[in-house]
Symmetry: C2
């Protein structure tokens, strides 16, 4: 393990897409959507022997903090920080920078999403180690480029440029552009060109470098964050500082605020498996199917049905007769039935529930 290396995990989310299992207080990263432990727990465990637990921070929110602590007993409690309000990703990365800087102003740190599936932990660690190294080589903002396994329309892409160097045996490229989720045709073109990576939202950089970029490209946000830095130096409690200053921060994404404007952005090639498992149908990719193509988790009986995803708590029984390609998810207080190809409509349902006092307890 190298000293001076930190990881900050972003663990928020509204718990809409995996409803009714996911809730506002229990979004995907707090659920074992794939595997037996919460996705966040798996993310923290994936760092074992690479970054010491005291150097792993989680930024979450007030509603989820208790459950995050419960899911991450290996982390010091003070490493789990709750945003008092959501202020988009630039503020969260800025806060991460402030918090890491307070511990080690010369540190290199990585930002990681909390709820993605990566089975090849060794491959992941090897890439993350290289990302730390690359971040030190030319004061770059380093992103991890995921090998695009198929022309996905649900992911953003990174268009790489020329080879800029090498880190621990892996190629580092310049970045031509970050691309939003493409349509199918564009996605196919991306993948065929061999010049595009999936953007997994994984970054690595040195504290002085990302600080300078913030200062240069979003001086207002950086100055506001400075109040938190100053307060920490005076040993004021973080909760109080966040409550006072965080709500004033500008709401803007890190991509727009910094990444697209920074001078030295690099993408590191990688080779581990990766899946953000963005909605129920993605779960299929990670479980064995029965002979009729059903994926089941819990106590399920299917009589002449095929292609279904059926999930319950293992105490309740869910029985299906003669249905195809449905998502059926049972929880103690709510059940969802929805065709797989309409999973993107779950979000709208949850929002509708939230507007109705009779159902708002289900958020």
């Amino acid at each position: 393990m190298s000293q001076g290396r930190y990881v900050v995990i972003m663990a928020g989310g509204k718990g809409e897409r995996f409803w009714p299992q996911s809730r506002l207080r229990k979004p995907k990263h707090l659920l074992p959507i794939v595997g037996e432990t919460p996705m966040l727990t798996q993310t923290v465990e994936r760092l074992e022997d690479l970054v010491p637990p005291e150097n792993v921070l989680v930024i979450t929110n007030a509603e989820q903090r208790e459950a995050v602590l419960e899911g991450c007993p290996m982390l010091p409690a003070e490493n789990v920080i709750a945003e008092p309000v959501g202020r988009d990703t630039a503020a969260a990365v800025g806060l991460a920078t402030v918090l890491v800087a307070d511990r080690d102003p010369e540190a290199t740190f990585a930002m990681l999403p909390a709820d993605h599936v990566i089975k090849d932990s060794k491959g992941f660690q090897s890439v993350l180690s290289a990302a730390f190294a690359a971040a030190g080589q030319e004061d770059a903002l380093v992103t991890v480029g995921i090998q695009a396994a198929y022309p996905a329309t649900g992911y953003g892409y990174i268009h790489r440029g020329d080879v800029a160097g090498e880190a621990e045996g892996r190629k580092v490229y310049t970045v031509k552009a970050f691309r939003e989720k493409p349509d199918q045709e564009t996605a196919t073109r991306y993948v065929e060109s061999g010049e595009y990576y999936w953007n997994a939202g994984m970054f690595a950089w040195r504290v002085p470098v990302i600080s300078r970029e913030f200062e240069q490209h979003t001086p207002g946000l950086w100055e506001a964050l400075g109040a938190i830095t100053d307060g920490l130096k005076q040993d004021q409690p973080l909760d109080k500082l966040l409550a006072e200053h965080y709500p004033n921060l500008e709401k803007i994404s890190i991509d727009y605020a910094v990444m697209e404007k920074a001078s030295t952005v690099r993408v590191l090639e990688s080779d581990f498996d990766w899946d953000d498992v963005g909605e129920w149908p993605a779960v299929e990719r990670h479980y064995d199917k029965d002979e009729a193509g059903n994926v089941t988790r819990g106590r399920i009986v299917i009589q002449d049905g095929s292609g279904n995803i059926v999930v319950n708590d293992g105490k309740h029984t869910t029985a299906l007769i003669g249905v195809e390609d449905l998502i059926v998810v049972q929880t103690p207080d709510a059940t969802l039935v929805c065709p797989k190809d309409r999973a993107q409509e779950i979000k709208a349902l949850v929002r509708k529930l939230g507007e109705d006092p009779e159902f708002s307890h289900l958020l």
Copy 2:
């Protein structure tokens, strides 16, 4: 109210067709499948002011007796009799005959199913009163003929013959034949002919008449039942007598054992509404639909779905997105999802569950 008139309600069933709401210990007659109280309770209440509660008997089984007592607080507990084992309908009618005879050997009694929907209670009472009268006129076995509202393939039919008389202003016909559930073409022919009634399994007869028919057409069964009659005369407890003698009774249906062989069988015309509500899709006929044709009972949210039947306990929330013509029934320990046009397969599912120790608690 006329003295000497009894009603015996047959309240058994395996609770398969309305699973997961119906169970072995709680079949349809113990559930408010249509209405707010159990179907049996409605059946008993429908007799109010026509037959006094002390003259209303219920034949059920050991598993269901407690719940029957609970659902029928208006009945004396000794009027709720549990068959120790099921021995088909001839044995049950024979037992009814023995029990009524023990109270009044000259009584007229009706046999009624426990779990049918009849909304026109007044019309029903008028017909039942006429059936009692008809049973006394020519020592007949009287069945009630239901006006066939459409060419149903799920019901048996009664083919009427000539007018044999009149009872309380209603025509009484001879019976040409009892017909099993027909195919669609045959059902259409039946209904178009105007000579066929639906067979609701409602009978009325005098104790001496049905006794004589039993003696003549199934002497073995009748002799075996005689042991119970004798025991009752000696004031032996009914439970003990049933435990000793009932399992020995021949298993045969009342239609086959008596009705098809008896000399004087009559069918009384009727005009009340009637529905045996034999499976989940039948529930639709009794509830208002929303604009998309969904029938819901409980706490249900449907986003862009149509023609569904969705039922839960009102505490749980069942949410549907974009599905059509499904039955979705939620109970505290089991949920069913099944297309409406495959409801007849629920029975097979329940039997399969019964064979698996992991699921047999759900029967």
